[in-house]
Amino acid sequence: MGNCYSDVEGGKQAVGGVQQSPTATNNNAGHNDAVEFFYRSWGLPQHFTRVELSLSAINLRDRDIISKSDPMAVVYAKNIDGKLEELGRTEVILNSLNPTWIEKVIVAFQFEIVQPLVFHVYDVDTKFHNIPVKTLKLKDQDFLGEATCVLSEVLTKQNRSLTLNLCSKIGHVGLRNLGILTIHAEETVASRRVVEMMLHCSYLDNKDIFSISDPFLRISRIVESGGSIPICKTEVVNNNLNPKWKPLCLSMQQFGSKDNPLIIECFDFNSSGKHSLIGKLQKSVADLEKLQEGRSGENLTITSHHGHKKVLKGELFVDQFCEKEQYSFLDYVSCGFELNFMVAVDFTASNGNPQNPDSLHYIDPSGQLNSYQKAIMEVGEVIQFYDSDRRFPAWGFGGKTFDGTISHCFNLNGSAGSFEVEGVEGIMSAYASALHNVTLAGPTLFGQVIKRAAQIASQSISYNNKKYFVLLIITDGVLTDLQETKDALVKASDLPLSILIVGVGGADFGQMEVLDADKGQRLESSTDRVATRDIVQFVPMRDVHGGQISVVQALLEELPGQFLTYMRCRDIKPRPLHEAQVSST
């Protein structure tokens, strides 16, 4: 990193609670810490969700003369360079043209990238009795058919099942019907129950010499071997012997059962890393619930060097205790919840004349995408699967339209009435033709576009509270009226809306970073209203060659979290999966 100092503030943050990363594995398959560690050591990103694919097929081709085909399916991930990487395979089923395979293939779902999957079905001709399926050589088998899809296509279907026609490898369906493959996806979650508590301590001992203790709590689970594994820690409260921590949320995944004993330790934070233990106690989640009901505290204890256990004056109280179901992002999207994509493009003069190859708006005849096109593709291609009708509002701002006036929110497709285009390709073609019809002007103002998007989001709530809107603003420059933008953002912060801002070109975007609350404080309007939530993400898109992970992906990673925050706060739940699905939406 370049500097010698540790990030003390980073060390003081809360870790491990369920709210932290909504699509993280520790929310789902936390029972297998070894697997998680394995994934991480192989460089797989921290935030992914384990999904199990179950496959079945109908009407497979019969390749064997005497008996029926013995089918097996193989699942591949298609990499960016087109290469196929095997993710797993099912077992072989004897003599069946309509197999329902039992073996599941596990894939890691990542919201922020498009994950193309390829399925191959084989008739296994070689002996497979008592042989691990993994060792079967595919080139020795009879190829029965291929199907492709994108992982999010499966996950956004109502019953998480996608049905595809099998075709021959060359890509076109042969004369004969090769059969149908059905892919069903399940998130591997043992339990959705979570417990949310508010804890505070009183009369803690002072462990600091020159000031007052900076306490935090660490909660650990006792394991069978007798040791303990930490499951979470609270944030640090500075200089306080009666600290009250922010709500702590633990999933049943993490603590096992409500009767499992947990060790709660209270430490005094030291920036050296050597935290002093103030005291501890052992309580199960059920015990903590009783503490809250009885409104009583429990004393911390500390064991001295001699092994003598001393009861301290410090006490732990549970102020609030709430047990509930917590649904994941995938629970919502498979229940009809949608992400609706909207895009706004900067037509200010600072981009440069589009005819000029130096311009940020230059459309390269060789097909290489400019920064605007790249941003639209990268975000649009991921989100389009979460949008049921693929009709996207698309606007431009800062340009002079056909009637000679400068507009800060004009329809990108040049139409007077309709502001929507069809599909990502629709955005691209509207953008290209707008470059011919619109004169670049200025100044750079976001206010109108944000208000328009907020209006659409507000109006949709009356009809359908399952829609969440994502506005992508691509700009090359610095805002002319920061305060008006802040005002519009503060007003929009209470709506089902997230705003992604991508900065292209070489301008200094320092001012834009103020809008992203990660880097600054909560936004304030000119009338003393403060943003309810952080709905803005900003990232500059520098032209980095050879990067594996795009910066735009980092923007998208935050979206499931923002969506969940909105839904959970309003107690909007996905319809229970076991209820009969009444046809709607």
Partner: protein, 177 residues
């Protein structure tokens, strides 16, 4: 918008952030008072431990006169000399009435508090929902999934009226600590 002389609001006073008494963080016993220009409407219990980040999460139903344009939230603390006002914020009624959202939308709002000198003194987080009489309810909330309905099943937050679901204020910072 409202056809009656007064309208009913469901206000939940959720929490305060970084509230100070004479520049020093508040120790304890902060509470909030809600009033219109003319009269007080309700007040919360004192948060005995919360210090400068008090947490109340109390829901109150209040009537405001039709012509009211603001409601005022004051954060006070109980001192030996009486109740002292630490900060005040004025919430325009237009922030939760009108606009394109349905009338019964649950608004989560936050405001900058200012002390008697006009200096900034923390933030107050509230939620407001207009109570629409049955016969005037529009076609909103027609879908099966609940919109903004507080928990019914498990009784959480023992003692305090269950109001806004857990985890409010909803700032991302709140979760990341």
């Amino acid at each position: 918008m409202f056809s009656m002389a007064s309208s009913t609001l469901e206000i939940t006073v959720i929490s305060g952030e970084d509230i100070r008494n004479n520049r020093k963080p508040v120790k304890k016993n902060a509470f909030a008072v809600i009033r219109t220009d003319s009269q007080p409407l309700c007040r919360t219990e004192m948060d005995k431990d919360g210090g400068s980040y008090p947490y109340w999460n109390e829901k109150h139903n209040v009537e405001i006169p039709q012509h009211a344009r603001f409601i005022t939230v004051e954060v006070q603390c109980k001192t030996s000399a009486g109740d002292k006002t630490l900060g005040m914020a004025r919430i325009p009624v237009s922030d939760f009435v009108g606009g394109f959202v349905p009338q019964s939308y649950l608004h989560f709002l936050s405001y900058r508090l200012r002390n008697s000198n006009g200096e900034r003194n923390g933030i107050i987080n509230v939620s407001v929902k207009a109570k629409v009489p049955e016969y005037a309810a529009s076609s909103c909330s027609s879908t099966a999934t609940t919109i903004g309905v507080p928990f019914g099943k498990t009784s959480c937050y023992g003692g305090v009226v269950p109001g806004v679901p857990v985890g409010v204020p909803i700032m991302k910072q709140y979760y990341q600590g």
